[in-house]
């Protein structure tokens, strides 16, 4: 008997895949620093701003309060992994939430440092450029870990998490 849970509202889902597209575009497609790169970067800023607001007024599992990770919850999830217990979280899991806050902050940092490079004050200032580039590396590492974690957790729990980010529903075994 499987249970279908509605977890992600359309805004969260559109936000997620738009963010993925924009990040990929700026890493692989647009020329660094050119107009297209800047516009895509501002789109990322807009998406993050929207998500921040939605984190306070959105639907149940979209709210930050719903997935604020505490030390006990994090230890609990690690214990589940260590003992092979399968406890499915309806919304974001505690470890997942840490990664999500990291990704949101990193994306915001990218947009801010990118914008700073175009301002008179920081134009040509080396360390701003270095911050932007360091954040790119950090973001790439984070995304790889994020995707690996999604795959590992999907297998451990028997729930197709990527599918839930498309359809909005988690199917619990």
């Amino acid at each position: 008997m499987s249970v279908k849970l509605r977890v992600w509202d359309p805004l969260v889902r559109v936000f997620h895949w738009a963010l993925v597209a924009a990040f990929a575009a700026n890493v692989f497609v647009t020329a660094p620093g050119k107009a297209a790169h800047q516009w895509v970067g501002y789109a990322v800023a807009g998406l993050i701003a929207l998500r921040l607001v939605w984190g306070f007024v959105g639907t149940r599992h979209a709210r930050f309060a719903d997935f604020m990770p505490g030390p006990d919850a994090v230890l609990g999830q690690m214990t589940d992994m260590a003992t092979g217990r399968r406890r499915v979280h309806a919304g974001h899991s505690p470890l997942g939430a840490i990664m999500i806050f990291n990704l949101l902050l990193t994306m915001a940092g990218l947009a801010v440092s990118g914008y700073a490079m175009t301002t008179l004050m920081f134009f040509g200032v080396e360390w701003v450029e270095e911050v932007h580039e360091a954040l790119v590396v950090w973001a790439e590492i984070s995304v790889v870990v994020h995707v690996l974690a999604v795959v590992v957790e999907s297998r451990r729990l028997g729930v197709n998490l990527p599918k839930s980010m498309v359809t909005g529903y988690k199917t619990l075994p």
């Binding site: 690690m78 003992t83 217990r85």
Partner: protein
């Protein structure tokens, strides 16, 4: 011994600091490794990598990775032990907990089997264990069969008596001196 007294009175045990320190160390070491790996990749990409100059860096990175493997294993072990003590045993956490751990290792139980075995010894039913572990009852039964086979026993009763026998053979008065009244009544 104080642990046992606390849990019988329903007082929460002080939060173990072990896992937290270990997790902090692991996170720190992962960050260090990431830094080294990125640095090495950049050196190679820039083409100014002289292998002999890189050796110390490569060695340090390797050392970090090996350390990480050991730390993660220690963390998993620690979490499993705490899971057994907190969730399934309460009163007997000290002596019986340690004894169980020894046997589980000796029998070569997997982490899932060890978890199911601990719940079983405590007396939970298959349905209860399945609910607590978020798995199907069939899965728990499969684990149980493996546990009984590895332990060389016929069923739950024998599994428990293996442990009880060992506890009864152990001296009731520890080498350090007589047990205080509060503990003695519970042994």
């Amino acid at each position: 011994m104080t642990d046992q007294d606390d849990s019988t009175r329903g007082i929460a045990r002080p939060k173990a600091r072990g896992p937290r320190m270990l997790i902090a160390l692991i996170v720190f070491q992962i960050l260090c490794s990431a830094f080294f790996v990125v640095d090495i990749i950049e050196d190679f990409a820039a083409g100014d990598a002289v292998f002999s100059h890189m050796l110390p860096e490569l060695g340090a990175t390797l050392g970090l990775f090996v350390g990480l493997v050991f730390e993660v294993r220690a963390l998993l072990h620690l979490l499993r032990r705490q899971a057994v003590m907190e969730k399934s045993l309460g009163v007997a956490a000290g002596a019986l907990g340690a004894l169980m751990e020894d046997y589980f290792r000796q029998w070569g139980l997997t982490p899932s089997e060890a978890d199911v075995a601990a719940f079983t010894i405590k007396g939970f039913t298959i349905a209860e264990i399945a609910a607590m572990r978020g798995s199907a009852e069939g899965t728990v039964k499969t684990h149980l069969n493996a546990i009984y086979r590895k332990a060389g026993v016929q069923g739950r009763g024998q599994l428990v008596s293996v442990l009880i026998e060992d506890l009864l053979n152990a001296p009731l008065v520890p080498a350090g001196g007589p047990v205080d009244a509060g503990t003695a009544t519970k042994v």
